[in-house]
């Protein structure tokens, strides 16, 4: 089986979580004997073509043409993806990730007459909370609809995303397959001096409460800061560390400064993976107060490190955390509930440790790339069986491209 995997990001080009997702998924599939060719965008000082045990990476020019705007740029690099993909032979199916590779995915599907599978990681409707004020947003929404419509199966990472696709893109339920994102817990094992790192962020007597996420409204950093200020009015033995970059960061820093509790906060900005994993290791509680969250891979990262988590009862986070077993859930945007939940975990160390252990176990059982790769392969096999028994395939004329 040969799969063409289309993704606009792939390491070392990392924009969001998609690069790591495609990287680990492709590896897991290659380990299972699938021949995977990833068509992605170029990156400075990285070869155009790389090969590694069943895995081939083809990087196409990301800036071959002048682009007037984001959408034009996206469609233009899709032209380069199509050109590169047509050089591949004996393709069994095409797997496109998000609207960013929809044009290439759909065009290749029809030219090669091979099934298209799409993973939709989030939707424009969800990201914009249903408000499309600009043409670009409507365009993206329409392309997402088109991608889902043209796909044989659509993969989403959570039941929450499944209902989003059904409600906002009109995708029939039986066309959607829920396969969670994976993480690789072994990747996170690091050797370092815990107390040295801890002292960089807090005094020995302070508990560290960690927020990880982009500083954008949907991730709820403002809810975290409000809950932190609320908790600080009751106790002082806590330090709040906010990791991530984004447009809300400066306003939140101003707010904290004006509150007079600035010494209880640490805004790290963007940190590299190694530092992030150290932060997970030294924190006492990890908090994810998102208002919109298709999946919540950061919560899984914290859980895999054996940390108790407090999450909003929203989206994918709702499905990752079983309240009272591996963390606590609070209503999204509820500052009082969030500060109380954080306090519960700080107070009850035994409960926090137990939840941390349960969380790590849950990650191993449900969210390893082994599990995700196996489930994806089974879906590929199902689609190919359906495809082979369907009348829609290349026929009559043997063509150069197929």
């Amino acid at each position: 089986m040969k799969v063409l995997m289309l993704s606009w990001e792939y390491p070392p080009r990392i924009v969001g979580g998609l690069a790591r997702h495609v990287y680990w998924l492709s590896k897991a599939l290659a380990q299972r004997g699938v021949e995977v060719t990833v068509i992605t965008l170029d990156y400075p000082e990285t070869p155009r073509i790389e090969r590694e045990k069943g895995l081939k990476i083809v990087r196409v020019a990301s800036h071959g043409f002048t682009s007037s705007d984001f959408a034009s740029w996206v469609h233009q690099f899709n032209l380069n993806m199509i050109e590169a993909a047509l050089e591949e032979e004996d393709v069994s199916l095409i797997h496109a990730h998000d609207w960013l590779t929809a044009t290439a995915g759909i065009t290749l599907k029809h030219l090669l007459r091979r099934p298209l599978i799409a993973t939709i990681h989030s939707t424009e409707h969800g990201r914009r909370r249903g408000e499309f004020r600009e043409t670009l947003q409507r365009h993206i929404h329409e392309v997402e609809w088109w991608l889902a419509y043209e796909s044989w199966k659509v993969i989403v990472c959570s039941n929450y995303m499944k209902s989003e696709l059904m409600n906002y893109l009109g995708v029939p339920e039986d066309k959607i397959s829920v396969i969670p994102n994976g993480i690789n817990p072994f990747e996170l094992k690091l050797q370092f001096d815990v107390s040295e790192v801890r002292r960089r962020y807090a005094e020995d007597w302070e508990k560290i409460v960690l927020f990880v996420g982009r500083m954008v409204y949907e991730k709820g950093p403002h809810v975290f800061v409000d809950a932190a200020l609320s908790l600080l009015s009751r106790r002082q033995d806590v330090k709040f560390v906010l990791t991530g970059e984004g447009p809300m960061r400066k306003d939140l820093m101003d707010k904290v400064y004006k509150s007079g509790s600035w010494h209880k906060f640490y805004f790290t900005g963007f940190v590299e993976d190694v530092e992030l994993f150290k932060l997970y290791e030294v924190c006492d509680v990890a908090v994810f107060p998102s208002l919109y969250e298709p999946f919540g891979i950061v919560a899984l990262e914290a859980m895999s490190m054996g940390k108790p988590v407090v999450v909003s009862d929203v989206g994918g986070l709702s499905e990752i955390v079983v309240d009272g077993l591996n963390g606590l859930k609070v209503p999204p945007g509820d500052v009082w509930a969030l500060s109380s939940a954080i306090e519960r975990l700080i107070e009850d160390q035994r409960m926090a440790k137990e939840m941390g252990r349960n969380g790590a176990q849950r990650v191993r059982e449900l969210y390893s790339w082994d599990v995700v790769g196996e489930r994806t392969l089974r879906l590929y096999e199902q689609v190919l069986r359906e495809y082979l028994s369907s009348p829609w395939k290349p026929k009559r004329f043997a063509r150069k491209l197929s």
Binding site: G64, D69, S72, K395
Partner: protein, 163 residues
């Protein structure tokens, strides 16, 4: 056979010509570039139906496309069918606008790429001919001028019949 984007899928025969419309899915476009490129998937669908199910692609002798918008679809047809592509241009971007907006630069970039990718560029005016050579530096042996439909027909027949 004439393939062109429309609001629905349909085939119409008129004399010896088959007109194949294909419905364009994406309606809310940011600009002409997103509009043309996002029509590629629908164009591929139309070609796939025609050449996997109804016609032998080896019967296609030549692909003729009009302006950069048609040439973008034509370039996909060239890759799909492996036949020579002629792009007919009545104008180039610098004749249509003097502004140097990013959108215009974007169209110029695509236009240049597509003229290079074409096996033959047929300019339908003297100015378009001159600009294809001067601005896009298309090799002179791949640019011809056809001021009348008779000129165009003889160029097409020449290409079809070969040297």
């Amino acid at each position: 056979m004439i393939l062109h984007p429309w609001h629905d899928d349909a085939s119409v025969r008129d004399g010896g010509v088959t007109y194949r419309h294909f419905a364009v899915t994406i309606k809310s476009n940011v600009n002409i570039v997103t509009s043309v490129i996002s029509a590629l998937g629908d164009f591929a669908r139309a070609m796939s139906e025609l050449f996997h199910e109804r016609y032998d692609p080896s019967h296609v002798g030549l692909i003729i496309s009009y302006e950069w918008t048609g040439s973008l679809l034509g370039s996909l047809a060239k890759r799909f069918l492996g036949r020579p592509l002629i792009t007919s241009i009545h104008s180039v971007e610098s004749m249509r606008t003097s502004e140097k907006s990013l959108l215009s630069l974007s169209i110029r970039g695509l236009e240049m790429y597509l003229l290079y990718f074409s096996d033959l560029v047929v300019a339908r005016s003297e100015e378009a001919y001159a600009r294809a050579l001067a601005e896009y530096k298309v090799p002179s042996d791949r640019v011809r001028m056809a001021l009348t439909s008779r000129d165009m027909t003889s160029i097409v027949m020449e290409v079809l019949e070969g040297p």
